[in-house]
């Protein structure tokens, strides 16, 4: 299990500031290396975060200011783009996004939990074959399968509904959900399960009374991650829906009408990204745990 390291000893080097060899006592070298690391870390983090900060900054500028060739840092802020976004009929899309994300994530968890159970705690024979299968479904280029999906959805009258998006998102997130939940289940100490079995508890009891409560953080982070991917999903929304769609499609309304639009895009982009950024921030640690399927000792 990954534990936070609290030692300050430098494990690896890559720092652009190498400790000077000789002439300095070890502790001073370590301090230099420390500072170097911290600087490197902050610089990289800020560079990564910068475009987003820039986007938020731009969202408060008027279009004229935003379009100037020299980036303006001092300017009179305006909320007009946010107001414009809310005025442009964003709410139906917000509702759709919430519906699709919430429902598909709920169902993913509901289906993935028993599946993960059947692949770890009470494993079937050869669970790796099923795992393989689930992962392999992510290999098919989505563009290839879209034609039959479009045709079938059209016949069933499912185009331009939230239902079709829920179904497709379900398929998209289920392998991920199973993978992550299974790995969390793998982490449950065998002794607890053995003890319960010895005590005569049935599988159901073990599942619901012991495993499920222990899985709560794992479920939460799996759900958060699936929700993020569902919220951001564009391809299916773009091809299978038109007016009754999710937020990524709403952004298309703001594609240029021939007018300047940088600040407007920045505002809408910020708006729609806030929920998922927060979700991602909360889920980050468990995301990694889940992905590494307990293989880390």
């Amino acid at each position: 299990m990954s534990t936070e390291l609290t030692q300050t000893s430098v494990l690896v080097t890559g720092s652009r500031r190498k400790a000077r060899r000789g002439g300095q006592p070890r502790s001073a070298r370590k301090r230099w290396a420390s500072v170097g690391m911290a600087t490197g870390a902050w610089v990289s983090s800020l560079v990564l975060f910068f475009p987003i900060a820039y986007m938020v900054l731009k969202s408060f500028q008027t279009e004229q200011v935003a379009a100037s060739a020299v980036p303006q840092l001092i300017f009179a802020p305006t909320f007009e783009h946010y107001i414009e976004a809310f005025d442009s009929g964003i709410w139906p899309f917000v509702i759709n996004s919430f519906l699709v994300t919430a429902i598909s994530t709920l169902v993913v968890i509901a289906l993935a939990l028993p599946a993960a159970w059947a692949l770890s705690v009470r494993a079937i024979q050869n669970p790796q074959d099923s795992l393989f299968f689930f992962i392999s479904t992510k290999m098919m280029p989505i563009a290839a399968g879209i034609i039959p999906v479009y045709v079938v959805a059209s016949q069933l009258g499912l185009l331009n509904t939230t239902a079709i998006l829920i179904i497709m998102h379900l398929g998209m997130n289920l392998p991920l959900g199973i993978w992550m939940l299974r790995s969390f289940m793998q982490e449950i100490p065998g002794e607890i399960l053995e003890a319960a079995a010895v005590d005569g508890a049935s599988s159901w009891r073990i599942g619901f009374s012991i495993v499920l409560p222990l899985m709560r953080p794992g479920i939460a982070s799996t759900a958060l991650l699936c929700a993020v991917f569902s919220w951001n999903e564009y391809f299916y929304a773009a091809n299978l829906t038109t007016t009754n769609s999710t937020l990524p499609l709403f952004l298309q309304k703001f594609l240029s009408f021939g007018e300047l639009y940088t600040a407007q895009v920045a505002a809408v982009a910020t708006l729609v990204s806030i929920p998922v950024i927060i979700a991602g921030w909360i889920a980050q640690k468990s995301l990694v745990r889940g992905l590494l399927f307990g293989a880390v000792k």
């Binding site: 379009a67 509702i95 429902i103 239902a163 829920i166 499920l212 038109t242 009754n244 240029s256």
Partner: protein, 458 residues
């Protein structure tokens, strides 16, 4: 304790699932009728400024037609076409009203994807079919002359330029310039130091983007797409000369990042004062003035006819965005009501009053040009627009006879595929990743193959 926890959990999940399912059921397809006999129609529009105005004025329609609600899907034209085509050709039924271009009109009419409008038009006398401008009406009718789409606006192409910059550079632009004169003017007005490009031209790939402008240049240089036996003529000397001219002009004095700019980028560039000239659709005349960054720019925008080349052929194109009723629409009558509203004289007046006379959809009706306020506001370009529309000849657009119609496109279904491919190749030449010769050779072999496969060549 732990005992009943799982039961609670299960119950919660169940309730949540049920509630969610009920909610999901509520928000299904928007084509269904709402409560109380309300009809909702879905309209697909191209993302042009004039269409945006229509969307913003929809309350007027809904007031006049209680019981009909309108939902819009607005997409940039490169995306609108595939979206709507996909829908109507698979009979998916998501759109009641589709905005289609004059290119699509005959094809879709023949396939039966859109409903003929002649009966609606004759029954709706207030709509005044006779008021439509003749050349535009022709390109939105099927081969028998029946109206199949109502023209939202009609347009041609011409040159927009900044007369202050021209004066400062010591050039005059005549009312009927030649491309050579324009090139000289672009050279004079190109000002790298001040970030002003001599000219802005479409470079973005897309048969309706860069290829529209390029085809008119090909025409007026004496070139053509196909000869009468359907041999592809993309590597003929005249065509080569035309494309080379266009690419050179763009690379030498055109806007930066040209291969990524369509009319949207040029509209922005020209109205912000970053280009001295712009050859594009007449419909953007009003928009350019409207969106000009400063009053100084707005006052100095002047117009000229589409430049001609060695073959001296009037090279303005002919285009119309029309509103059609899809075959799969369940509410064709409501759809007609919307179309009738959006293309009526009253709408034009409303748009002029509410959004400014620069923002009305021009070129579709003769009566538009009789409105005094419009004559005032559009004094600089109204006459030239009409003249350009009249001068365009889709039935004989080139110097030599050709088996196809269409000024800036070839009126065959395969043109989408061909056009997109060729426009990509030329965009490559514009961005410098290949030469014009390579681009045209490639395009020639691709096009010939498609034409042969489709069975045109005799």
């Amino acid at each position: 304790m732990a005992h009943s926890n799982w039961k609670k959990g299960l119950a919660a999940l169940g309730v949540a699932g049920l509630a969610a399912g009920a909610l999901a059921g509520c928000s299904t397809s928007s084509n269904e009728n709402g409560e109380g006999g309300d009809v909702t129609i879905t309209v697909a529009l191209a993302a042009n400024p004039q269409m945006q105005t229509a969307e913003s004025l929809i309350a007027d329609f809904e007031d006049k037609n209680p019981g009909i609600k309108v939902k819009f899907t607005v997409l940039p034209e490169n995306e609108l076409r595939p979206a709507v085509t996909k829908d109507v050709s698979t009979n998916a039924g998501q759109y009641d009203v589709a905005m289609i271009g004059s290119y699509e009109v005959p094809i879709w009419a023949e396939r039966g994807w859109i409903v003929p409008l002649d009966e609606y038009a004759s029954a709706d006398t207030a709509w005044d079919e006779a008021d439509l401008t003749e050349p535009i009406k022709n390109i939105v009718s099927d081969k028998d002359g029946k109206l199949v789409a109502a023209p939202f606006y009609g347009s041609s192409s011409f040159l927009m330029y900044r007369k202050d910059l021209a004066e400062a550079a010591g050039v005059t632009i005549p009312e009927k310039p030649t491309w050579d004169e324009i090139r000289a003017a672009a050279e004079a007005m190109d000002d790298d130091a001040n970030n002003v490009a001599g000219i802005c031209l479409r470079g973005l790939p897309g048969w309706g983007q860069n290829l529209a402008a390029i085809t008119t240049v090909i025409n007026t240089f004496g070139g053509q797409w196909f000869d009468e036996s359907w041999n592809t003529k993309l590597t003929s000397p005249e065509t080569k000369e035309a494309v080379q001219f266009y690419v050179d002009l763009l690379r030498d004095y055109g806007q930066p990042d040209a291969a990524a700019q369509g009319w949207e980028g040029c509209l922005q560039s020209f109205s912000q004062g970053q280009s001295a000239m712009w050859y594009d659709d007449t419909v953007f005349a009003g928009s350019a003035i409207d969106q000009a960054a400063t009053p100084e720019i707005a006052d100095n925008i002047a117009f000229a006819m589409a430049p001609t080349g060695p073959a001296d052929i009037a090279s303005g194109w002919l285009w119309s965005w029309g509103l059609s009723i899809t075959k799969s629409s369940k509410n064709p009558d409501a759809a007609w009501k919307f179309i009738s509203w959006a293309t009526s004289k009253d709408y034009i007046k409303l748009a002029g009053e509410e959004a400014g006379w620069d923002a009305i959809p021009p070129g579709s009706r003769k009566s538009t040009y009789d409105i005094p306020e419009y004559q005032d506001a559009a004094a600089r370009y109204a006459d030239l627009t009409l003249a350009s529309i009249e001068a365009a000849n889709p039935l004989q657009p080139t110097k030599n006879p050709v088996p196809y119609s269409g000024v800036q496109y070839v009126q065959i279904p395969e043109f989408v595929e061909i056009g997109d491919y060729v426009s990509q190749q030329i965009a490559g030449a514009i961005s410098g990743s290949q030469t014009v010769d390579q681009a045209l050779e490639d395009s020639q072999s691709y096009t010939s193959k498609v034409i042969a496969d489709a069975g045109y060549a005799q």
